[in-house]
Amino acid sequence: MRRSGLQPSARCLVKKEAIAFEAHEECSFGIRLKGERYGFWPSDFLGSSSVLFQAEDVVLYEYDGSVEKGRPDIVVFPTTTQEVSQIVKLTGKHNAPIVGRGAGTGLSGGALARTGGVMIVFARMNRILSLDPQNQRAVVQPGVVNFDLSLAAAPHGLYFAPDPSSQKSCTIGGNVAENAGGPHTLAYGVTTNHVTALELVLPDGEVVRVGSAQGDAPGYDLTGILVGSEGTLALVTEITVKLSRKPEAVETLLAIFDSVDDAAETVVDVTARAIIPAACEMLDGWTLRVVEDFVHAGFPRDSAAVLLLEVEGLAEAVAAQARAIREVSNAHHAREVRLARDNAERELLWKGRKNAFGALGRLAPSNYVLDGVIPRTKLPQTLRRIRQIGARYGFDICNIFHAGDGNLHPIVLYDPRDRGQFEHAMQASAEIIRYCVEVGGALTGEHGIGMEKSELMPLLFSDADFDLMRRVHDAFNPACLLNPGKIFPLSKGCGEIRTRSSAPSHSRPSAT
């Protein structure tokens, strides 16, 4: 990546705003934004390698894990809260939008600069500031990678419970913004259940702390409203999280089925037996074959579906639950139920699950991952409906998902170079999401609304709901400087949202 290498002499010039811009276009931080002069980037508090503004540099930041695009004008890499605050103050003077970004692994376009502006990447704020094993708390900067925290906590027998598939690259700041989940959230809850306090930079640059290390801060639950607000209310610069104690025993089972319906019925029945597995994941036949070719996890290629189930806790509890799961699976005609004999076998099974999205990349040039969530008893009928919708549009739709909590991830495989295919993929996806809502579900279980599902929000929310959400948004972010164009449908969002012509937005299906 090209860095904007500033010479010491140039750095001096940058401070003298009046002369720097035109005279030193090559190496100065004077930048144009939306065609207007944006002013000077204050290199005196950010190092010279901390700002990108050349087109060939910023273009690398116009994607995240979604199918959307949105190019920032400037990308900055602050290292301290103070720097974030200064950037926000400076940007605010120019009324420019600000988008926070972690690792950019998000799947809903949350970390994209939909209307351009300044992107604050938290990659260099990646320190674990404190780890308190006795109180089971850690304080981290937003750029800490999810898995790194669990690694650091491991010597104390502790770990950070939320475990998105991208946990080896996604950041905790991103997890907080999206209220990320993962396979093990069935028993342990999502990110919001593990965050007790935050340090924020508000859109006017003010630094505030909300919540408290122990939790139960008096007054309204500001931490609760901020986690999952997708960067639209404030920038999070420090996070206090709960650490969980590793269980004494873990059993991982693979139940293999000849029909998707049987697998789905098994999920419903496991819960009916008062068992809450730590994880309960399903891969349908399409998916497991692709994964098997890629990972060799031992999934039988001729099966219709597999369930990956994990139970954790006291050795006594785990043994009984594993027995019960085997009984339930057999009652629903499981062809075979395997128990991982050791850690190596367990890791191989999980490798199959966590690398599935990567493996699917081999099937089609592109894929679109949905995130609908339904009441889990509606699983069998919803899976049938997804098959019908796929067949009607002529797509292969793979299913790999958190079956235990009804969080579906249908994956539509398509070729983005074929404009018609893309449109059809989006239409099929919208139909699936509509069906999820019809059976009592919601648009997204863990990926967020971002810019990909904002136009579908009216499926669930009324004008009164949007008005209230809008007022809550404005209580934090009145000028709509933070992550504009997200969550709210464009017609109900900030008044001034305009999609830039340079960042073509695909025409999205809408709720109506």
């Binding site: 308190d132 809850g189 919001t192 505030v208 986690v227 006594e316 509890a317 339904i374 009164a464 709901d465």
Partner: protein
């Protein structure tokens, strides 16, 4: 009653029906909050009627306080204005219960017990056996933000409230979340309603994740000469492979209160607590849920921990489900028992990191001792109230110095005129929490509420005209 008020009552009557509104002083007197009596009581029969009443109130610039069975209305500051009590108990239906999905959706005015019964039939439950739960509405439980000792394993309402419907201050029916256990669609507005004391919106319906009931449970009571021994033991249990459902520490005085409750109980106890525990000890009460194998394992773990040299205990008693039922009931209902024994009790809620708990407890007990105040279980005379203010401020200061938050959910109205029950000053601008190393009994000015501006902003977003519960939280 002013003529404007009676006018309001009659117009409200015409809008939502005579049977739903009362301005009868004897009815209104049942809805007193901190010595303030409303001028009218409205009892809407639907969410639509709630919205209509709120729109009325907004138009007439009246102050509404929503309520259920009014068991926890003393939480919060005295209202600065209170025109209409909004009695929500007519909205009492279970809207959806889907045992297979482990979700339930219930009207705010439903009794907790009426909800618990159908859940129990499906071997499920909601871990919200909070103080007064047996006569509480579900909306009241959420709005008052109280919790139970089961929070240790199940979390608080913020961990299992998955959606809500409510009427905002503009009189419109709004919602957030949904009826699925995992959902990130839109802002989690329902989390703001927990503990909001009716200051943001009128809750009309709540959606919860339910939990499978454990097949059995077992209780363990370990007695110690001093509180720090009990807390240290609790830490050893935390570090063990056990995942206790609850851990409570009980003072000698509180245990005395339990024994008296047992003595006064109309029904004979299934397994008397009397004589089981050393009277001058502190007790750690831990409960374990699971299969009988899990409970047996817990027994051996507790015995193992108790045998460690650092476990300075005097006795360990194991209670099966029947033997422990009364003790855990009393534990959950400590606050009602305390208030019954001493109507002028000041009950704090202190949120602190476990490692800081022992020193705080010692110093807080010191405050009470030096103030010559009776402790839990000792009866008080009415003239004690005026002596509560200084030690209350001392406890607030102590907590601030330990980086803990103390609030005063239960205390006499008279005390609220001298101290802010939130333990925080709402007037000073938020400027962080100064570490106050104040001496015992040295009443220092309260610490400013952090994020006052943000909280005021949220209040204005939900309730732009300040219709709801004026004065109870932010003034």
């Amino acid at each position: 009653m002013t003529s404007a008020m009676s006018n309001f009552a009659s117009r409200l009557e015409s809008a939502i029906g005579v049977s739903h509104v009362s301005a009868d002083p004897s009815v209104c007197s049942e809805y007193v909050v901190d010595e303030l009596t409303p001028s009218a009581v409205a009892k809407p029969a639907s969410a639509g009627e709630v919205a209509e009443i709120v729109r009325f109130a907004a138009l007439e610039k009246l102050s509404l306080i929503p309520c259920g069975h009014r068991t926890k209305l003393q939480i919060g500051m005295p209202p600065s204005r209170y025109d209409v009590a909004l009695d929500m108990t007519a909205l009492d239906q279970i809207a959806h219960y889907d045992p297979g999905d482990l979700t339930v959706s219930v009207d705010a005015g439903a009794n907790f017990n009426d909800l618990a019964a159908p859940l129990y039939q499906q071997k499920q439950f909601l871990p919200l056996s909070v103080p007064f739960y047996f006569e509480s509405t579900i909306g009241g439980i959420i709005a008052s933000g109280v919790d139970s000792s089961l929070r240790h394993s199940y979390g608080t309402a913020r961990d299992f409230l998955i959606g809500a419907e409510f009427v905002d201050g503009t009189g419109r029916l709004c919602k957030s979340g949904g009826r699925v256990v995992k959902n990130v669609t839109g802002y989690d507005l329902h989390k703001l309603l927990i503990g909001s004391l009716g200051t943001l919106a009128v809750i009309t319906r709540l959606n919860f994740r339910t939990f499978p009931a454990a097949p059995s449970r077992r209780g363990f009571v370990v007695s110690f000469p001093a509180p720090e021994n009990a807390l240290a033991f609790g830490h050893l249990v935390e570090k063990s492979p056990l995942a206790p459902a609850s851990i409570d520490v009980v003072s000698p005085q509180l245990l005395q209160l339990f024994l008296e409750a047992e003595k006064n109980s109309p029904e004979p106890p299934a397994a008397p607590l009397q004589g089981k525990f050393p009277g001058d000890s502190w007790h750690l009460c831990g409960s374990i849920e699971g299969t009988s194998e899990v409970c047996d394992r817990a027994s051996s773990e507790f015995t193992r921990i108790a045998a460690l040299p650092e476990a300075k205990h005097s006795q360990l008693i194991t209670l099966n489900e029947t033997e422990g039922a009364d003790l855990w009931h009393y534990l959950g209902q400590s606050v009602p028992l305390l208030l019954e024994a001493c109507s002028e009790a000041a009950v704090f809620k202190i949120a602190i990191l476990p490692s800081r708990l022992a020193p705080l407890l010692t110093r807080a007990c010191g405050v009470v001792y030096f103030a010559l105040l009776p402790q839990a279980g000792e009866y008080t005379r009415p003239d004690h109230v005026h002596r509560l203010a200084k030690p209350t401020l001392s406890v607030f200061s102590l907590c601030a110095s330990e980086n803990a938050y103390a609030t005063l959910p239960w205390c006499p109205t008279q005390l609220k005129r001298e101290v802010n029950v939130w333990g925080l000053d709402f007037v000073a601008p938020a400027s962080g929490r100064p570490a106050s190393g104040s001496a015992l009994l040295g009443a220092t000015p309260p610490v400013p509420l952090p994020n006052l501006a943000l909280m005021r902003g949220l209040k204005a977003a939900f309730d732009p005209q300040n219709v709801f519960a004026q004065g109870r939280f932010l003034g």
